[in-house]
């Protein structure tokens, strides 16, 4: 049992593998296969994230917000989730969304500004990217309320940042979740920044997790650079949700090891000394240290992983390069289920495009 054991009001924080790669209680760790899988997926999402950055710099993607520093949060959650669990993300959960089944090519296409990238595989319980900060958590709570109404054993993970917890809608989501016992896991990635604004200024409470207490449910602070701790905490919160135990709030403390987005320049407001301190806690490096010291990971494993990851990314980039542009129908077709009143506007746009292509 992790939940209930770490009191946010006492400043307690859950961690399994510390920044030096040393495990606190080896007996409580997941099995070797799971540990390796957590590591491999962190390497993978870091590489896809870095690739997105370089694609943006080449002008092939639009603005992109990297997840660097939060790999453990996203991989831990992805491994904790079961097939039927719902995911309600913000804009930064690119790694988690991919691990839950969104093709990498779709993610790249979306950030390239192509509507076709927003079409996730049919049946996947993943809501679209949500850019209005703090707004999407209400949908997660509503999904859970619906499941309760229907008597289904559902569980929902909703992701957001520290900044999002200042929006009114966040507090409404927390209150509704408590009142209606919605099976929702609030997964807050506290990367300590909302663009330039420090999380310590977002709120006067020492932790964000403790806010859950005032809404009547559990909140826990977790080392968000520890994939194992993240995996175990989210697993437990999801199991509780599926059993009818209601909502849980998880504050994953990390550090944004990158700009806010490709339009930002964090050097204006980040202190290089502090950045270096957090770089030394790198979630990917940390788990590798543990795996290597436990003799679970060898150089050949790393080489194979690098090759596999590169191949997956190359394939996605190839799709990005060859994808169709959205047609006027793609732009009009999803405004309403039935839209006769827009037909003339669609014809108008097609006419304009047609005449332009004939150069008159």
């Amino acid at each position: 049992m992790i939940l209930g054991k770490y009191d946010p009001l006492k400043g307690e924080k859950f961690c399994m593998i510390d920044e030096n790669g040393i495990a606190k209680e080896v007996a409580s760790l997941p099995d070797a296969e799971k540990l390796k899988a957590l590591y491999c997926d962190m390497v993978k999402i870091r590489a896809m994230d870095d690739k997105a950055f370089s694609l943006q710099r080449q002008g092939r993607l639009g603005t992109y917000g990297q997840l660097k520093g939060s790999e453990a949060v996203q991989v831990g959650a992805a491994h904790a989730m079961e097939k039927d669990d719902w995911l309600v993300p913000s804009y930064r959960e690119n790694g988690l969304m991919h691990l839950r089944g969104v093709p990498l090519s779709s993610i790249y296409l979306y950030w390239a500004g192509n509507e076709l990238g927003a079409k996730f595989p049919e049946g996947s319980k993943i809501l679209p990217f949500s850019i209005p900060v703090g707004s999407q958590m209400l949908h997660a709570v509503g999904l859970g309320m619906a499941a309760n109404i229907r008597g289904d054993k559902a569980a929902i993970v909703t992701c957001f940042g520290d900044g999002a917890t200042s929006e009114g809608e966040f507090h409404e989501a927390m209150n509704f979740a408590g009142v209606f016992n919605s099976p929702t896991v609030f997964l807050c990635t506290n990367n300590q920044f909302a663009i330039s604004f420090r999380s310590t200024k977002q709120t006067k409470t020492p932790t964000i997790a403790q806010k859950a207490l005032s809404y009547g449910f559990e909140g826990i602070v977790v080392d968000g650079m520890d994939a194992v701790a993240m995996y175990q905490t989210v697993s437990e919160a999801l199991a509780k949700a599926r059993m009818g135990g209601g909502p849980t709030f998880i504050e994953a403390v990390t550090f944004r090891l990158c700009d806010h987005t490709t339009s930002d320049d964090a050097s204006i407001y980040q202190d290089p000394k502090e950045v270096a301190m957090w770089q030394a806690r790198d979630p990917v490096v940390r788990l590798k240290k543990y795996l290597t010291s436990a003799n679970l990971w060898k150089q050949e494993d790393e080489e194979k992983l690098t090759t596999d990851v590169k191949k997956a990314i190359d394939e996605a980039v190839a799709v990005l390069g060859s994808a169709n542009k959205p047609t006027p129908e793609d732009l009009f077709g999803f405004t309403y289920a039935v839209q006769p009143q827009l037909d003339w506007q669609l014809r108008d746009l097609k006419g304009v495009i047609e005449r332009k292509s004939h150069g008159n």
């Binding site: 909302a194 330039s196 405004t335 009143q341 827009l342």
Partner: protein
């Protein structure tokens, strides 16, 4: 006179206002040390201190709601909403309070508040960062809505907005933040709110635009001049309350009106302008008033964004229809 971009003109106006009047305070997300995501408030915190220029928690209703309180106390808050697409959490505060506290208190309280926000498409930004929802705001009696498009007006109208006794939504078009430069006088001056301006005289046809569309209209007017069509360009500048007099005078002079806006067509400001022309100037019109606008769809993402922004081809076709009616 110094040549400045629209962005620098905003910064200049804020600095000028803060120097002149210590009741002026600047608040919003990232406006402090960072100087705003576009750097519109760059250097202000350093110059005027953290009491007068400060970052707030990430909450638009919080920003606008507390700014209303500050305004009623006697300050002159200039709040930044990071992008127009994120003004919605604050809409309740704007609609239910900022716009009507004067009325509700029978004039005991007023809300001298300015809300600055970047708007408009064409910069290749993310979803919600390319919105033109001005008509949702112009529908709220009690709010003034302005959208300057040149550095001279940007500075003069922002200073006027800060001095205005009522709440003003101040729209800054993103696509022309840096792309448009012009002469900006030193020091304090104001450009009145509530006035539209004929920025190019012509006798054959009137093109009306605001923000980036004003610059497109000027470009079209140049093209038309080569074809022997003498176009007048009206920069709307203030979107609420509308300067019906200037709108009507131009329509009656040329008899042909085309309104350009990025916002969706239905119930956009173009509809209101067309109604003014038909209600009061019908007999002077030589052709139906045309609108070239965004379509009634969700703004497409970056790759297709420009398909939904009125452009040269679409405006020229409208001109043809109007001239050959």
């Amino acid at each position: 006179m110094a040549i400045k971009s629209n962005l620098d003109a905003v910064n200049d106006a804020l600095r000028t206002a803060m120097k002149k009047d210590d009741r002026v305070v600047v608040l919003g997300e990232d406006v402090g040390a960072l100087g705003g995501v576009f750097r519109a408030t760059a250097g202000l915190q350093k110059e005027f201190g953290e009491k007068r220029v400060f970052d707030t928690p990430l909450a638009e209703a919080g920003i606008v709601g507390t700014a209303i309180g500050m305004a009623m106390y006697g300050l002159k808050p200039v709040a930044e909403i990071q992008f127009m697409g994120f003004i919605f959490p604050a809409l309740n505060q704007l609609f239910a309070h900022a716009a009507r506290l004067r009325n509700r208190s029978r004039g005991r309280f007023n809300v001298p508040l300015v809300i600055r926000t970047p708007w408009g498409a064409g910069a290749g930004a993310l979803e919600h960062h390319m919105e033109s929802t001005e008509a949702l705001l112009t529908q709220i009696p009690g709010l003034k809505v302005v959208a300057p498009s040149t550095p001279y007006d940007m500075k003069g109208m922002l200073l006027a907005a800060i001095e205005d006794p009522d709440p003003v939504i101040f729209l800054e078009h993103m696509r022309i933040y840096r792309a448009v430069k012009g002469e900006v006088p030193e020091g304090h001056y104001t450009v009145p709110l509530g006035k539209s301006e004929v920025v190019r005289e012509g006798k054959d046809i009137t093109l009306i635009g605001w923000g980036y569309m004003r610059h497109l209209a000027m470009h079209i007017a140049d093209l038309l001049a080569e074809k022997g069509i003498d176009a007048e360009v009206l920069d709307l500048k203030t979107l609420a309350p509308l300067d019906s007099k200037t709108i009507l005078a131009s329509a009656m002079k040329t008899g042909r009106d085309i309104i350009l806006h990025e916002a969706p067509r239905t119930c956009g400001l173009g509809a209101e302008i067309a109604a003014i022309c038909s209600e009061c100037g019908l007999l002077s019109l030589k052709a139906p008033v045309e609108r070239v606008t965004g379509y009634d769809i969700t703004m497409p993402l970056r790759m297709s964004e420009k398909l939904n922004i009125p452009d040269e081809a679409r405006v020229l076709e409208a001109v043809d229809r109007v001239m050959n009616f």
